[in-house]
Amino acid sequence: GGSTGGNPLDTTSAAPSGSASGGGGKAVVGSFDFPESVLLASIYAQALEAKGVQVDEKPNIGTREVVIDQVKSGGLTIVPEYNGNLLAFLDLKNTAATTDEVDTALQQKLPAELEVLDSSPAEDKDSLSITKDTQTKQSLNTMEDLAKVSKDMTFGGPPEFKERWEARLKEVYGIEFKEWKSTGATTADALKDGSIQVGNVFTTDPKMAANNLVALQDTKNIFPAQNVTPLLNKAAATDTIRTTLNDISAKLSTQSLLDMMQKIAVNKDEPATVAKEWLTTNGLG
C-alpha cells in the first residue's frame, strides 16, 4: 500500500507505546500467526522473564506486514524474525542469498526504528514443495524442472507469498502457475488432497514429513537464507534483552527447532511448554 503516499493510519499510532521505557524493565513479545513463530516468541519471553524483565506476550498477530508495523510503532518490542524474509520484505529486489550476505544487506536496509540482533544458525527456509507422488510421476526434483510443467499446476501458500514471489519466480526460473490459491495453514493438506500441486511449506514444518512432501531444490538460490533473527524496536531495546536473545540465538540449531516443532505438531504439546523445556535443557531458563 505504499503508493497511497503515506499511510495516515500509521501516523496516528506512530508514538511509541508508554511501556517502552529506556530501562531493561519491560518488553512486548509478539509473533506471527504460525506455530514456529509462536514457539520462538515463547522462548524469548520466558528467557526474558527469567532475567526479571516484565514481559507482555502477543502471540499469533498476523503476517509480517502487520507485525513489523507494530514493532516500528512500538506496539511490539520483540519479534522472532527470519533474516531472509525480513530483507525481502524491506527490499523486494535484493538478491542476497547466504546468511552473511543477507545480514549485511539487512543492516543497510533496516529502518531507523528497528534493530536486529545476531542471527542464529537455526534456519527455516521457504520452499516450493510437492508430494512424493507428483515427484515420481513427473520426475520433478528442482525448481527448474518445475518451470516446464508449472503452467498446468495450481499453487497454494500464504496470501503474502504471491505478492512477494510471483515476479521473482517468473524472472529467475520462468515459473508461472495456472492459478494461485491462498491456502494458509492448510497448504500441506491441500497438497495431499490434490487441490493444489505445488505449495509453499517451510522446511522445518513437521507436516513435510507427516504428509510425504518433498521440497524442490532451489538451484538458483532464489530463497535467501532464513536464519532465526530477533527483531527489536530500537527505542525499547535494552542490554538485558540484547544479551539474553543473543544467548538464545547462539544455542538454537535447525535440528533443535525441528525437534521442538515435532513435539508441537505431533504430540500437540504447548509451545510454551516446549520452549520452557528447551530453555531448561540449555541452561537459559
Binding site: 500500500g1 503508493s3 497511497t4 503516499g5 499511510n7 495516515p8 493510519l9 498476523g62 503476517t63 506486514e65 502487520v66 508495523d69 497454494g156 500464504p158 496470501p159 503474502e160 505478492e163 492459478e179 494461485w180 490459491k181 491462498s182 491456502t183 494458509g184 492448510t186 493438506d189 491441500a190 488432497d193 490434490g194 487441490s195
Partner: protein
C-alpha cells in the same frame, strides 16, 4: 478528515485498477464466489428452517426446540465451527464453510417463521377451518400468506449475516470477497481491505433491497396495508 481522504484514496486505488476487474482474482469472480457461498448457505438454511418453522408454528408442538436451538445457534462461534469442520472434513470442499453459515442462518429464519405462523390471529385460523379448508390448505392458503412478512424478515436478517460472515471463508483458503480482506490484511494492502469491505457492504445492501422488492411482490397489499384507504 485525513481519515476520509485516505478512505477515498483506497477506494480509488482498489476500484480504479483495471487488473482488479478480471481474472480469477478479480472483483467479478470474487463477487460470484461470494454469491455462490451465500446463496447456497441461505438456500439450505431456508430449506431447513422454513418447513420446520411452519410445522412447529402450525402444530404448536416443539416450541421449546425453537427457543433453545435458536439461542444456542446464536451463541455458536462461526470461526470455531469453521475450524472444527476444516479439521473434520479437510479444507478442500466448501462444506466446512457452508455448514457454519447454515447454522448461523437457521435461527433467524426459524424463529421468525415460527413466530409468524404462531402469531396469526386465532380467529383467522378458526374461520379458515370453519369454511372447510383442510390442515394443509389452512397453512398454505391462509397462514403462510399472512405470516409472509415475518418469514421474509427472518430470511433477510439471515441473508445479511451470511453475506457478512462469508468473509471468514477466506480464512480457510476459499474464495469470495473475504479474500480481498484477508489477503489485503496479510500484505498490509489497506486499499484491498477497504475495497473488499465496501463490496461486502454494498452486497448486503443489494440483498436488503432485493428482499424489500421480494416483499413488495409477494406480500399481499391486504397484509402489508400498503394501499391507501380510498
Amino acid at each position: 478528515m485525513s481519515w476520509l481522504i485516505a478512505f477515498f484514496d483506497w477506494l480509488v486505488e482498489f476500484f480504479g485498477d483495471p487488473a482488479r476487474w478480471s481474472g480469477p482474482d478479480g472483483i467479478p469472480a470474487r463477487l460470484l464466489e461470494h454469491l455462490e457461498f451465500s446463496a447456497l448457505a441461505l438456500a439450505l438454511a431456508v430449506l431447513i428452517a422454513v418447513p420446520l418453522g411452519l410445522l412447529i408454528g402450525h402444530t404448536g408442538r416443539g416450541e421449546v426446540v425453537v427457543v433453545v436451538s435458536a439461542n444456542l445457534a446464536r451463541a455458536l462461534p462461526t470461526l470455531g465451527l469453521l475450524v472444527m469442520f476444516v479439521l473434520l472434513l479437510g479444507a478442500a470442499s466448501v462444506w466446512p464453510v457452508i455448514i457454519p453459515l447454515v447454522l448461523l442462518a437457521v435461527p433467524p429464519i426459524l424463529v421468525n417463521t415460527f413466530e409468524g405462523i404462531k402469531g396469526v390471529d386465532p380467529e383467522l385460523r378458526d374461520a379458515a377451518y370453519g369454511m372447510g379448508l383442510r390442515g394443509g390448505q389452512v397453512l398454505g392458503r391462509v397462514l403462510v400468506p399472512v405470516a409472509l412478512p415475518l418469514i421474509l424478515l427472518g430470511c433477510r436478517l439471515s441473508a445479511i449475516q451470511v453475506v457478512a460472515t462469508t468473509t471468514v471463508a477466506a480464512y480457510t483458503g476459499l474464495g469470495g470477497l473475504g479474500r480481498f480482506i484477508i489477503d489485503g490484511f496479510a500484505t498490509k494492502d489497506y486499499a484491498r481491505v477497504v475495497g473488499g469491505s465496501v463490496l461486502i457492504v454494498l452486497f448486503a445492501l443489494v440483498v436488503q433491497i432485493l428482499f424489500a422488492l421480494a416483499q413488495r411482490v409477494t406480500v399481499s397489499p391486504g397484509v402489508s396495508r400498503r394501499l391507501k384507504v380510498r
